[in-house]
């Protein structure tokens, strides 16, 4: 490895670590986006299950206990289910085949911009 290789590697690793340990607020609201745009914004205090229709079928999103997760989705690889729950503002879990994204917002306004 050349010095330039090491600098490049160090930059990438540092960016990830800074992001992982950056202090953030508690997540309050889960924002669920489907193929037709915004589906719902729900508080993560109360337990709830949402069914989101996508091109492949229905993706089920469960919120409650301060976290949100995709519990089942009709996609081939189930990466969204295996990703597990998201809790902190700015975190996201996505099912690309069924076009569903779940993001977390804190109390103080949006931490992610949705289009």
């Amino acid at each position: 490895m050349t010095p330039a290789d090491r600098v490049l590697l160090a930059c990438l690793l540092c960016s990830g670590l800074v992001w992982a340990f950056w202090p953030r607020d508690k997540g309050e609201v889960a924002v669920i986006v489907g193929s037709g745009g915004l589906v719902a914004e729900v508080s993560m205090d109360r337990p709830d299950t949402l069914a989101v229709k996508g091109p492949l079928g229905t993706t089920y999103v469960v919120v409650g206990g301060g976290e949100a997760k995709i519990i089942s989705s009709p996609c081939p690889q189930k990466l969204c289910v295996r990703s597990g729950p998201v809790r902190r503002p700015g975190e996201v879990v996505v099912c690309i085949p069924n076009r569903v994204a779940v993001t977390i917002k804190g109390r103080n306004g949006p931490d992610a911009v949705l289009r």
Partner: protein
């Protein structure tokens, strides 16, 4: 030609091998198939590496289907080839095989985020950017070291074997 076909097959075999390894994060792949593109780039040049990258992606599509996964794999694989070829040509003295591989992994991951943004139509996917940058560093280094090892192994053979 035969050697390029062997590289494509080798890349597919590495993909399969990788599928059986445990993953630290569900969406994180080491991208060992990229070793085939890198070997072709260093042994036979950018044009041959392009053929290997395209054929490898198509072969993956035949086995896994031509869904959104194929779009992500094709976009990432071909963009990574472009940047790796560019970095090797212009900054080949500055970055070694490992550096070129990290650039490839970085390009691959960024392209996937752009495509995911277009497919899911939400900018929320960019929340994964720092994690993807970190993952590019880790996977690019592993792939690069594997390619470096492969190059050293192959270059022990006389030149005519490689043509």
């Amino acid at each position: 030609m035969t050697h390029l076909a062997l590289l494509v097959a080798g890349g597919a075999a590495l993909s399969l091998l990788e599928g059986s390894l445990p993953r630290p994060l569900p969406w994180m792949k080491i991208g060992l198939a990229n070793v085939a593109t890198i070997l072709a780039l260093y042994l036979y040049g950018a044009r041959s590496a392009f053929s290997v990258a395209v054929l490898r992606v198509l072969l993956g599509g035949v086995f896994l289907g031509f869904g959104p996964g194929f779009v992500l794999s094709a976009g990432g694989g071909i963009a990574a080839w472009g940047v790796m070829a560019l970095v090797k040509e212009t900054l080949g003295g500055t970055f070694s095989v490992v550096g070129v591989s990290i650039w490839g992994a970085l390009t691959h991951n960024l392209t996937q985020l752009v495509l995911a943004h277009l497919l899911v139509r939400t900018a929320a996917v960019w929340a994964l950017l720092p994690a993807f940058l970190w993952a590019a560093g880790v996977t690019g280094t592993i792939t690069g070291l594997a390619a470096d090892f492969g190059l050293k192994l192959l270059r022990r053979y006389p030149r005519r074997v490689l043509r």
